[in-house]
Symmetry: C2
């Protein structure tokens, strides 16, 4: 196990409603010093949902993403609200975004995004045994539901139609969990 | 094809050396208005490298990530410097980080991270036919090289030892490219 660098100083450089930019002065085990920046999201916990209506399919969604200014394919997702567990949040988001609720929820673990720059991690939840359950969310426009067969994913990915790291990583996680018998 | 929302206004809320926080006022096709924040990285292009010393293995690296304050497993990666192509950057980063150079490089496409919040996308490059070629980089400490068999990945992922979205997504991309014959 490698020695973690010592954090000599942490400074808040800027903050908005959703983001905080921090600067850290580090001293590595070998004496090397570096100054890095990282981004915090304001204590926001999020869930990413791999919803399977049957063993052969997963539910993708297409919604507008302001970072890339396009409607993009991804997974249902959202924030964990105060007092909720990640599993409860997954079912609430599923009902708000795609009008479904899962009878069976499995915690698949956490994913980081770009851990050298971002503090944020999200919880991945496998949702199975789905039944209709529509709830009103805060989406600006209806989210398009795109059921896809597992076998179609390589083609979608190769064509660049599904290129969100979080979504692909969560699908990888689900595949691994299914392969090793859900841990 | 859905109508993209109209961006009514973009404001720079805060900026540091590496990050810019923007606020956007949007009007969706149905008249709904929303205010979103997003993060820009200062025109920084990056590459993520899936390096295969042979058809059965990939080269992971373990390095310190300040966002999660730990040494974490991921893929060799870095920034594209001025005047470089993504493929040239991949070979330079490979030689600096793991002392290797690829005779065969394949562009596997772009990955977004969290496109609802971040503008950043990274280029994924498959590197094969590797040979020794050590170059000096700017790493604060040597990067640990961790060769892994493709078949070991599900176990590593299920144990939570490899949980970086970008890396998992890039491995997924490589698997898909290999499955569909490199597009």
């Amino acid at each position: 196990m490698r020695t973690r660098p010592t954090i000599l100083k942490t400074e808040l450089l800027a903050a908005s409603r959703y983001f905080q930019i921090e600067q850290l002065h580090l001293c590595f085990g070998n004496g090397q010093q570096r100054i890095y920046e990282r981004l915090r999201g304001s204590d926001y916990q999020s869930v990413l949902i791999v919803a399977m209506p049957d063993p052969e399919h997963i539910l993708l969604v297409r919604e507008y993403a302001v970072g890339v200014e396009e409607h993009v394919l991804g997974l249902p997702k959202g924030g964990v609200e105060f007092g909720e567990t990640a599993l409860q949040a997954a079912n609430r988001e599923l009902s708000e975004e795609v009008g479904l609720r899962a009878e069976r929820l499995t915690d698949l673990g956490q994913l980081s995004l770009a851990p050298g720059h971002l503090c944020h991690q999200c919880q991945v939840v496998l949702a199975e045994q789905l039944r209709p359950c529509l709830a009103l969310g805060d989406e600006p426009e209806p989210i398009e539901l795109v059921p896809v067969a597992w076998g179609e994913l390589p083609r979608l990915v190769a064509k660049g139609e599904l290129n969100e790291s979080r979504a692909l990583a969560a699908l990888f996680l689900a595949q691994c969990a299914i392969a090793v018998g859900r841990g």
